[in-house]
Symmetry: C2
């Protein structure tokens, strides 16, 4: 994650210098050699000293600890984010430790692979990927806008979600599939013992379904610890569905089973593709920021709910009084209309700006 981020930020000229620290000196050396960082630091506090923007790309379980290490070196105006796969605990625990004037916004790029470490770093990892941000009631709109622009500069697409909804969604779409893949792989490997010729014959379906089982167990333990309750909820729902489907097969209810398979096919085929790099024109949507806490989180979440990415975000005439306006840029007029509808239905005053 960190290596890919450094490679991308440097190649796109988004930051200079990029300063890195890694607990493993060899990884840090390799990051220098590969051009993922301009400079290496000898400890986390040195790495962040004087930085505009800090990415905590550590394993999930040490994010809070590393934040505590860097906190003394953070100065007002600095913006810190992370790339952890769960958000509620991190946002809560880091949030309570943020020095005055420093900004922290939780993040989670939906990118990566079962490969780990600086040797797997890929300058294009984030290209066209979603990057979830989890603003809170305290999030500063201007800092949020800076982060959105940086992520947009990586050709990634920002989607805003409250941390708890992020975690529920990931339990369903990431943690449950990972759990199922690992159990399926282990079950099949056990059942295939004594049939040495068979694993060779595994087709693409089995290979696809078990690919994530080769991910790091440590990483997944950390994720499942943080998000245990939501993962259990998702798992129990899935087990109920599986039992019902088993009943159709056992009872030779071919009509019912056919309906299930057809519904799954329709759902899979209607699933949006990975977003890819933005190609449409940017359209501006202006939203009045109400004078209450959490306005930015509410606005960005309302837009996220409509499935629209915020490509850029600026604060306009915020200095004129208590009420400011946030100007969102989204891709294309359809997306702008959807964002406007969703904002309006959530009680915000939003309007698509007509271009001349």
């Amino acid at each position: 994650m960190g290596g890919s981020l450094g490679l991308a930020a440097r190649s796109k000229g988004l930051a200079s210098p990029v300063v890195g620290f890694d607990i493993d000196p060899r990884a840090l050396e390799l990051a220098l050699e590969r051009g993922a960082v301009d400079e290496s630091a000898s400890d986390p506090a040195e790495a962040v000293s004087g930085a505009d923007l800090v990415f905590l790309s550590t394993p999930l379980r040490v994010i809070v600890e590393v934040f505590e290490e860097i906190a003394p070196a953070l100065t007002p105006g600095m913006l810190v984010t992370d790339v952890g796969s769960t958000k509620s605990r991190v946002v809560r625990e880091v949030g309570s430790r943020v020095p005055r004037g420093v900004h922290f916004i939780g993040g989670h790029p939906i990118a990566g692979s079962e490969h780990e470490g600086i040797s797997a770093a890929d300058e294009d990892l984030y290209r066209g990927a979603y990057w979830i941000l989890t603003p809170t009631d305290e999030t500063d709109p201007a800092a949020y806008g800076r982060l959105v622009r940086f992520i947009g500069g990586l050709d990634a697409r920002v989607l805003a979600l409250p941390a708890d909804r992020h975690d529920e969604a990931m339990a369903l779409m990431s943690h449950l599939p990972q759990f199922v893949a690992s159990v399926l792989m282990e079950f099949a490997a056990d059942a295939m013992k004594g049939e040495p010729g068979l694993p060779f014959a595994a087709g693409g379906g089995f290979r696809d379904m078990t690919r994530v089982a080769s991910s790091s167990p440590d990483m997944w333990l950390g994720i499942l610890r943080d998000n245990r309750e939501a993962a259990l909820d998702a798992l129990d729902g899935f087990r109920d569905s599986l039992s019902q489907a088993r009943g159709l097969l056992a009872g030779e209810d071919w009509e019912g089973l056919g309906e299930l398979l057809a519904a799954a096919q329709a759902a899979r085929r209607s699933m949006p593709e990975k977003p890819g790099v933005r190609v449409g024109d940017l359209v501006e949507v202006d939203v009045e920021i109400p004078d209450r806490p959490g306005a930015l989180a509410g606005i960005t979440t309302a837009v996220g709910e409509s499935g629209v990415n915020i490509e850029d975000l600026h604060i306009v005439h915020s200095a004129e009084g208590a009420r400011g306006t946030v100007r969102l840029l989204v891709e294309g007029r359809d997306a702008a209309a959807r964002a406007e509808d969703s904002l309006t239905s959530h009680g915000y005053r939003a309007s698509v700006r007509e271009s001349e």
Copy 2:
């Protein structure tokens, strides 16, 4: 399947002419246009008339019916095979209808995708893929050798398995994963209703795991009907594993869960890659054919159990008496030694031929 086969056979000069029939006249016309067949026939019997080798590339549920249609046009020496995804029923039902002197050998290429029809035909579909054959006690070694050579000519790799073990293995490695993928997709789609932004954020893991859910429901209903008992066994075993794993998560047994994830990771990482096209030297293994029914099936299965593909197969001095010898060609000396060991342990007299 049929379209890809025609394209490959024609481009590699394995058969001429390739004559095709399809129940859908437009598909047949497109097959001609795309060069998947040299000639189109007006019915199945006309298509097979005078053929050396017949591939039944129909949906699973009509293989037997189509075989009955072509049976009157089959003459002694002709070789018929199929590409159905389950084998026990087809091999039993077609086997009991084979005219005297005609050869039928069940087959299942482990290839294909969630896309269907002639428009998805791909000349390279079988390149480097496994192709399972299910010889029986009645299978004629010379006919089997012809089929092995044809499949080898497609750059696919033959693995022999008895039909019932093929079906058990596929229940585990294909039908169970498909079932789980469909249930996971349907469950997640249902749970994501009202969160229109979320499906966009599905990462590669979810996409990989649900890809096969977009396959044809009709095809899968046919497979699950044929192989219901083995699929239920696999499903029940998987559900037990899932319940045990859930117990680890619910009970916060992080050590136990870590062991499970690590075992799954190790199993996935040690899973052999798709075989790819043969690159090593061919080594000959001679095996005496005992004078008893089922000798060929026994020999090919023993080799399959060792994970070795038979690249070619000839009958040598079979005319000299009741005892013949079958000469197998396998890739490399290691594979030859493994095949020899497995054959010897199954009571066959086998020897690797030393090259000069």
